[in-house]
């Protein structure tokens, strides 16, 4: 053996040192990646702001790239409202499913349900988009026709509207909400449940008055993660939302921050392309704010423990 008892020989130390340096480089890469993504989003997103003007980009509603008008207010509002309603709808469904998984069902059923949720999370977003345009859009079109029949002011969208996009988003963020809330509910110490039951509360009362409040940090981080996923989703809602820059009313075809980038990046040039990067920067700012909120919650959770 080349390993002696007295001190390590030269090759081993060299190998040891090399390993340590390689590993620290690997770990540092995450930081480098985040820093360079941030830097590049800012570098490529700001030129258009100076050329068009901050107010004319962020607070104007006219999007006519060929006429040099790049107002993205409707796009921003669509992303905010779409995300907000998707989360509002998905949170109760997700939370109650998580409650069932963690508190009510037996082990066998839980396994089946968890695999179902896992599959739901794994389905590619383009598949959701496909289902959206072939199931949800026709249904929305029927609804639209019955509501706006004979209304000359309404431009028919064929069902590709904000509601359809919101419904797709609800399904897409559901697995995140279920999984993270379930983990949060499971970490609630058993003695809290037992004390509540011993005081005469029913199981349901215990769940809603003791377990859920005790897991509120985790549930809140589930919601924030859901917001992040909803605002960042692109391929699933691209065609479902109808892709027209309009005010985010329920039956309007709309364009989100993400779909604005995907739908025009392929052929855009010059200033138009730079504005698309500005849209990317706006999306990135939203995501960073969400991330910071999330890390605050997680830190607070650690301190509470």
């Amino acid at each position: 053996m080349k390993y002696s008892i007295v001190g390590s020989n030269k090759t081993t130390t060299r190998e040891e040192k090399a390993a340590a340096y390689i590993f620290i480089a690997c770990a540092a890469l995450s930081i480098i990646a985040v820093v360079s993504i941030t830097a590049y989003m800012i570098i490529s997103g700001t030129p258009a702001i100076f050329k068009v003007g901050l107010v004319d980009i962020l607070f104007s509603t006219t999007w006519q790239p060929t006429a040099g008008k790049f107002g993205i207010l409707y796009i921003i509002l669509t992303s905010i409202i779409g995300t907000l309603f998707a989360v509002l709808l998905a949170v109760p469904i997700g939370l109650l499913t998580a409650v069932a998984l963690s508190e009510l069902v037996n082990e066998k059923l839980k396994k089946v349900l968890k695999s179902a949720i896992e599959m739901l999370a794994g389905i590619p977003s383009v598949v959701y988009g496909l289902l959206g345009i072939l199931i949800i859009n026709p249904a929305m079109y029927a609804l639209e026709k019955s509501i706006y029949a004979g209304n000359p002011h309404h431009q028919m969208t064929g069902g590709a509207n904000l509601i359809a996009a919101i419904l797709v988003l609800v399904i897409m963020i559901l697995p995140t909400l279920v999984n993270v809330s379930e983990t949060a509910l499971e970490t609630v110490p058993q003695h809290l449940r037992l004390s509540s039951l011993a005081l005469g509360a029913t199981k349901i009362q215990t769940i809603f008055k003791v377990v859920i409040p005790a897991a509120k940090n985790g549930i809140f981080s589930a919601i924030v993660l859901g917001v992040g996923r909803a605002i960042g989703e692109a391929m699933a809602i691209l065609l479902v939302a109808g892709n027209a820059v309009k005010a985010p009313w329920p039956f309007n075809s709309v364009r989100f921050l993400t779909t604005a980038i995907v739908s025009e990046m392929g052929y855009s040039q010059g200033l138009h392309r730079q504005v698309l990067f500005t849209i990317g920067l706006v999306l990135f700012v939203f995501i960073m704010v969400i991330n910071i909120i999330l890390s605050r919650i997680l830190k607070k959770g650690e301190e509470d423990d």
């Binding site: 590993f23 890469l29 930081i31 993504i37 499913t97 794994g122 496909l130 349901i204 993660l225 999306l283």
Partner: protein, 286 residues
């Protein structure tokens, strides 16, 4: 649950219970509806011939072989890049790191990275790897971009796997005089390999499902590779990208066939990951 006196039913309890039941049923039924719908629409259009021939206007306009090969290229390239980096990073964080600030910074960066939407990775990949480094629209640009995207998955699963290795293994190895790296590659890594592998398989599922990050990096070509290595420098659309193209062209038959293949692949990945955890994880058996 049962009280000493007669059991009093609370209406609010029953309503809430019913709501929980409905929501749980909804969440679970969704996947059933999705699978049944995709398969019922896809099977009539499914031809085995499409899987073994590339798309060509002359012989077979629905051929998928080119896209299947591109998907395999992307998986292979991304994993070759991301696994060493991710596993190495996790080893540093769990086994070497002494500076708490650095560990916190890396953890925060990983957290941020996993929260960035794939379209942002796509934009970054396009301008950084594609334009600045000059790889243009190519499979390699796609691999670089996806490496950043799956890095958090690999780091996190490896960290969990490393943390599950009992401290006694480390003490025993060090007690026998093993140096750190020697201990890591002879004792620690082999004993947590199943955990790492599970993470890698989940990352593979993520790669297969990815589309937004690939559209502007790897492009959408469907040609067969002319040469094994040079194909990395050519544009290549994966199955998901082809699905997107078929969908925008209203070729729903092909779209559903690809959807079906993707769902089967994702199912296999999930099943494989579970099987590995169940059968090989020494640490969970104890």
């Amino acid at each position: 649950m049962t009280s000493i006196t007669a059991k009093k039913t609370r209406i609010s309890d029953n309503i809430l219970l019913a709501l929980i039941g409905i929501c749980t049923f909804f969440s679970a039924a969704l996947i059933v509806v999705i699978i049944v719908y995709v398969f019922s629409k896809g099977i009539p259009f499914f031809k085995f011939k499409d899987l073994i021939s590339p798309q060509s206007a002359l012989t077979n306009p629905n051929g998928l072989l080119g896209n299947i090969i591109n998907t395999l290229y992307i998986i292979l390239g991304t994993l070759l890049l991301a696994c060493p980096i991710g596993i190495g990073g996790a080893i540093y964080l769990n086994e070497y790191a002494k500076n708490k600030k650095f560990v916190e910074a890396v953890s925060f960066a990983t957290e941020v990275l996993s929260g960035i939407p794939s379209i942002i990775f796509g934009l970054f990949g396009m301008i950084f790897f594609g334009e600045l480094l000059g790889f243009k629209y190519s499979i390699l640009t796609g691999c670089f971009t996806l490496t950043l995207l799956i890095l958090p998955i690999i780091i996190r699963s490896t960290q969990t796997a490393l943390a599950s290795v009992p401290e006694s293994y480390r003490e025993a190895a060090r007690g026998l005089g093993a140096t750190k790296w020697y201990m890591i590659h002879t004792v620690i890594l082999p004993s947590c390999l199943p955990g790492i592998l599970t993470g890698v398989i989940l990352a593979m599922g993520r790669i297969i499902a990815e589309s937004a990050a690939l559209l502007f990096t790897a492009g959408s070509a469907y040609l067969m590779p002319r040469d094994f290595f040079s194909h990395f420098l050519e544009s290549g659309g994966t199955l998901t990208i082809q699905l997107y193209i078929a969908m925008t062209n209203a070729q729903y038959g092909q779209a559903f066939v690809i959807g079906m293949i993707l769902i089967i692949l994702i199912f296999l990945m999930n099943a494989l990951a579970k099987w590995i955890t169940k059968h090989f994880d020494v640490n969970t058996k104890e």
